[in-house]
Symmetry: none
Subunit: 527 residues, 2 copies
C-alpha cells in the first residue's frame, strides 16, 4: 500500500469527438490504458486496478456535435515529478490518435509543488524593471542578418527610449554574421548605456537556442555579461530547459511559442492555448509567455487569448502568476485596446511598428507614452541587477571538485582537518581529512587521510563496506580478524566486509594513512 | 559578401491550402518573411535581399482542391547548424498559422554534415546484436507499475527467448515503485544472463526522460551498468538530446514519437510523418525510429508508413540509414505482412502480444521463429558489448583478497607488474600494477599503481569515469582540460568526467602514482 500522498491523483479534461461507431465510454477507457500501462486489458495485473495505476474515467459530459468532456484522473506519481514524463502522461501517445484535445487541468499541490513554476513571476519581473501599475513594454531586436553593431544600436535605442523588456528576435542564434557571445555582450552593453541615459532599467532577454551541449554554455556566457533574463522556446530546446535555467542561473525567463502551433490548429485536437501556453508553460517556469494576439496574422481567437491570460495569472497552488505577452504584428495604436482586453499585468510586445520609425528611440518613447496613458505608472524600488561575479561568490559548500590538492606537511590545500568522528566513541588521538568524493565528484568512492598520534587508535568496529588503507607516514598496526600486522608507508591493507578491525599507533611518531571507502556505505557497528 | 558555402541554400516543400481571398503567391511570400526576418517588408534592409537573408520562393505548383506545393529556400547558415534553430527556421512561427504543411526537405551536404545523423545506423545496430539478413525483433518491458524484479524477469525472458532489442515502455521513469537506477541495473543484469543462456546478444534500451538536470545523470547511470542504447522521446526531452547523448556516450538511440502526433493529425498542417519521424529524426540521430503502424489503433496510412521508412533508409548525404520500427498493438501473426511491407531492414516492435502468453520466453521464441521465416538470418561477427566489466583486462585467478600488500621498491607482494594496456596505443614507457578491486574484493573502486619512465606518457584520452591520482614517487605532469600542473608525492589530482587528460614524465627519474577509479566504468575514448 502506498501513502496517501503517493495516491494523489490529478485530473485532465479531454474533449473527445466521436467520429466512429465506438461509444464515448470506449474512447475514454482507451485513453486510461494508452497513457499508462499501454498493454491489452487482459495483460494488466489485477492489483494494478486496486492500486489505481491505469487512468480512471471520472466523468463524461456531452458537449454537443459529437463532442464530450471527459475527465480522467491519473496517479500523480506516474508523472515521475518530471516535466518530460508529465507531458508524456498527459498527451504522449494519444497525440497520435485523432480527435482528442486537452481543455483543462486540475493539478493538486503535490504536483504543483514539485515543479515550482515561475521563479520571478509578475511581481519579480516588475521589481527587476522597477515599474508597477501599467502594462510593460517589450521590444524586439531584429531583423536577423544585421551586423552586431546594428543590432546593438537598436537595443540601445530601445533602452534609451525607456522600454521595459528587450528581447532578441527568436531567429537570432549563433550565426556567423552575429555570433552569440559578441552579439549578446554588445547588446547588453548598449542596453546598460541606454538605461543610464534614460534612468530606466530595461532587462535584456537574449534568445538561447543552441544545441543540447551548447545551450547552457550560451546561458553562462550571457550571465557573465550581466544578462538577467533569457528567451527560451521550450519546444525547440526541451520542455524542461526553462525551469532548469531559471533556477540554476537565477534568470527571468520569457517563453516563445515557436513550434507549438500544431497543438492549436484543429479545435478537436492538441491542447487549448490556455492549457499549453498558459497552465503548462507557467508550470515549467515561464515568467512571461508570448502568444499571437487575436486578430493579427495568426489565428488565435479573442476567447482563447483571454483564457490563456487567465491561466497564467489566476491562482494555481503556490505558483507565482506569470505575464501574458500578446504579440504578432501589433502596432502602437492598438495599446488601448490591448489594455482593455488584458489589463495592467500584461507585457505588450511591439516589433516592426517601432522599428519602422526613422528614430527608434523616439518610437519607443511613443510606445511608452501609450502605455502610461492606460494606467498610472508606479516606480518601484529596483532590484539591483546582480552580475555574474556577485551571485557566484558566496558559495557555502564546495560543489566543484578541485583539480589538485597540493600536499604540504601532511595536509592538503583546500581541505580542513576534522575530528575523527562527531559522536563520542571509543577512539583516541586521531584526526581526519576528507580529500575527494564529497566535493562534487561523482566517484563511487571517497578518499580520506587519517593520522593517529603515538598511543592513539581508531574505533574497534565492523561494517559491510570494505577499507583499503595505504600507509603514508610512520608505522601503525592493523588489528583485524584475530591477526595483526604493521602498516608502513605504501603498504596496502584491506579490511573485508564485517571484519572487526582497528588501527593503532604503538610507535613514537605520527602514523598517517589514506583510507579509501565506497561512497555509498553502511554505518559502522560495534563488534 | 559571404563565401559560397555560407550562401548554400536548402529547400523546403510546403503544402499550402488557400482558404481565403489572398493569392498563393502572397501566402508563400509571407512564409519567406515570417520564418526569417519577421518584420514588415518596408523594414527589411535593401541588402538583405541581395544577401539572400529572407526565404525565397523557388516554385509554386497547384495540387488541386485549393492546395499548392510551394518550394521555399533558406540560407543554410540561418539554421545556425543547430537542431533547435533548424526546427525554428523550418516551422517555428508558421506552426501558429493554419493550413501549412511540410511535405519534403532537400538538404545540401553542408547542412547534413553538421548534424551527422545516426551514430550506429542499420549496419551498426546489426553489428551490435550480431544479426543480419532478417528484420530485428524488439520487445517492450511493461507494464508500468510492476515491481523492479517483475520487470527484470520480463526483460530476462525476452533475452533468453532470443529478442534482438529490448526497450523500456516509454512511461517507465524514476517512479518510486521502479526507481530508474535500480530498475535499469536489474533489467540489464537479467538481459545479460538471458543472453548468456540463449547465446544471443540482445541490446537494452532504457527510457531516459528525466528533467533537464537529471537526464544526463540517468544516461551515465545506465552506461555504468553496461547499457549500450537508450530510448529517447525528442519532443519530451528536447529535439537535440538524442544526437548529443549518442555521441557523448557512444550509445545507440531509439526515438519514440511521444507528443509528435499534433504534427500529423490534420493533413493540411504540420509535417508529414516521413519528414518528422523520417528525415528529421534521422538527421537528429535516431538509429531506430518507432512509429504507429498503419491499421493499428493509431491513424497513419499505409502510404505514410512506407514513405516514412523510405525517408529513414534512402541515401541522404553521408548519413547512415536508420531502422524504421513499426509498432502499436502488433501481433505475431502480422510478421509476414510487415515483412512484405517494410522488407528486412526493419525493427518490428511487439509488446502486449508476447506479454499475454503464459510463458514470455517461449512467446519471444515464437516471435523470433516468425522473423526467421521471413528471410535467412546471418550471424555477424558481434561487436563485443563493451560493458563496464567486459572491457577490463582478463580476470585474474585470485579470488581471495589479500589482507596486506607489502611494499618494497615500488612493487607490492602478490601483485604483478603488467604492461599498461593490451591494445596498441598512443602511450610510452608506462607500466601498471593492479592492487585492489579485482582480486575478490567487493569495493566500488579499483586501486592501481602506475609508473612512467622519464620521457614516457599515458594515452591522451577521455572517459566518463573519474580519476583520483595520488603522487607516490618522482614528479609528473598532469595535462587536462587545457591546463597542466605537476604532481609530486602525495599531491592529489582529480580528472573530471569526459575531461581529456594525460600524465607525462618530463623529468629524469621514474614518476609513480596511485590511480583510483570506479570499479564499473566506461571504456576510454580518444579525445
Amino acid at each position: 500500500m502506498s501513502s496517501p500522498a503517493v495516491r494523489d491523483r490529478f485530473h485532465v479534461h479531454y474533449q473527445i469527438r466521436v467520429r466512429d461507431q465506438r461509444s464515448i465510454e470506449q474512447h475514454a477507457a482507451d485513453i486510461t490504458i494508452e497513457q499508462t500501462v499501454e498493454v491489452p486489458v487482459d495483460v494488466i495485473p489485477e492489483e494494478h486496478f486496486a492500486n489505481g495505476i491505469p487512468g480512471r474515467v471520472e466523468s463524461i459530459a456531452p458537449l454537443g456535435e459529437e463532442r464530450f468532456d471527459v475527465v480522467i484522473s491519473y496517479r500523480c506519481d506516474l508523472a515521475d515529478f518530471s516535466v518530460p514524463q508529465l507531458f508524456n502522461l498527459l498527451y504522449g501517445n494519444i497525440s497520435l490518435k485523432d480527435n482528442i484535445r486537452i481543455t483543462g487541468l486540475d493539478l493538486p499541490h503535490s504536483l504543483l509543488d514539485s515543479f515550482n513554476g515561475p521563479l520571478y513571476g509578475i511581481e519579480g519581473i516588475r521589481r527587476l524593471v522597477g515599474i508597477g501599475g501599467r502594462p510593460l513594454a517589450c521590444c524586439a531586436i531584429k531583423p536577423l542578418g544585421l551586423q552586431v553593431e546594428q543590432l546593438a544600436r537598436i537595443a540601445g535605442a530601445y533602452a534609451a527610449g525607456g522600454a521595459d523588456l528587450i528581447k532578441d528576435d527568436h531567429g537570432l542564434g549563433n550565426q556567423s554574421f552575429h555570433p552569440f557571445a559578441e552579439r549578446v555582450a554588445r547588446c547588453q552593453e548598449a542596453i546598460t548605456r541606454g538605461n543610464a541615459a534614460s534612468g530606466n532599467n530595461a532587462v535584456y532577454f537574449p534568445m538561447v537556442s543552441g544545441g543540447y551541449d551548447i545551450l547552457e554554455q550560451q546561458v553562462r556566457t550571457a550571465v557573465r555579461e550581466g544578462v538577467r533574463g533569457v528567451l527560451v522556446g521550450p519546444m525547440l530546446v526541451g520542455l524542461d530547459a526553462m525551469r532548469h535555467l531559471a533556477r540554476e542561473y537565477d534568470l527571468a525567463v520569457m517563453a516563445h511559442p515557436a513550434l507549438t502551433g500544431t497543438f492549436f490548429h484543429d479545435r478537436d485536437h492538441g491542447m487549448t492555448p490556455a492549457v499549453l501556453l498558459g497552465s503548462l508553460f507557467r508550470l515549467i517556469g515561464a515568467d512571461v509567455s508570448i502568444f499571437p494576439n487575436a486578430g493579427g496574422r495568426f489565428h488565435f481567437s479573442d476567447e482563447e487569448c483571454v483564457a490563456l491570460s487567465a491561466a497564467l495569472r489566476s491562482p494555481l497552488g503556490e505558483l507565482n502568476p506569470a505575464f501574458p505577452c500578446p504579440a504578432g504584428g501589433l502596432h502602437l495604436g492598438r495599446v488601448p485596446e490591448l489594455f482593455a482586453r488584458y489589463g495592467p499585468d500584461t507585457v505588450i510586445l511591439v516589433g516592426g511598428d517601432v522599428l519602422r520609425r526613422d528614430d527608434i528611440e523616439s518610437g519607443t518613447r511613443e510606445f511608452m507614452d501609450a502605455l502610461r496613458a492606460t494606467a498610472p505608472e508606479q516606480r518601484l524600488a529596483q532590484q539591483q541587477p546582480i552580475s555574474a561575479c556577485e551571485w557566484r561568490e558566496p558559495a557555502t559548500t564546495q560543489t566543484v571538485p578541485s583539480d589538485l590538492l597540493r600536499f604540504s606537511d601532511y595536509t592538503w590545500s583546500g581541505r580542513d582537518k576534522e575530528s575523527y568522528k562527531h559522536e563520542t566513541d571509543d577512539f583516541k588521538g586521531i584526526m581526519r581529512q576528507e580529500l575527494t568524493g564529497r566535493f562534487g565528484e561523482e566517484t563511487a568512492f571517497d578518499l580520506r587521510y587519517f593520522e593517529i598520534e603515538p598511543g592513539g587508535h581508531s574505533s574497534l568496529e565492523k561494517h559491510l563496506h570494505e577499507h583499503v588503507v595505504i600507509g603514508v607516514r610512520g608505522e601503525g598496526v592493523m588489528v583485524k580478524g584475530g591477526q595483526e600486522f604493521t602498516v608502513a608507508p605504501n603498504d596496502i591493507a584491506y579490511v573485508r566486509p564485517l571484519e572487526v578491525h582497528q588501527l593503532q599507533n604503538r610507535g613514537g611518531k605520527p602514523f598517517g594513512f589514506y583510507c579509501i571507502v565506497d561512497h555509498h556505505r553502511d554505518r559502522p557497528r560495534k563488534p
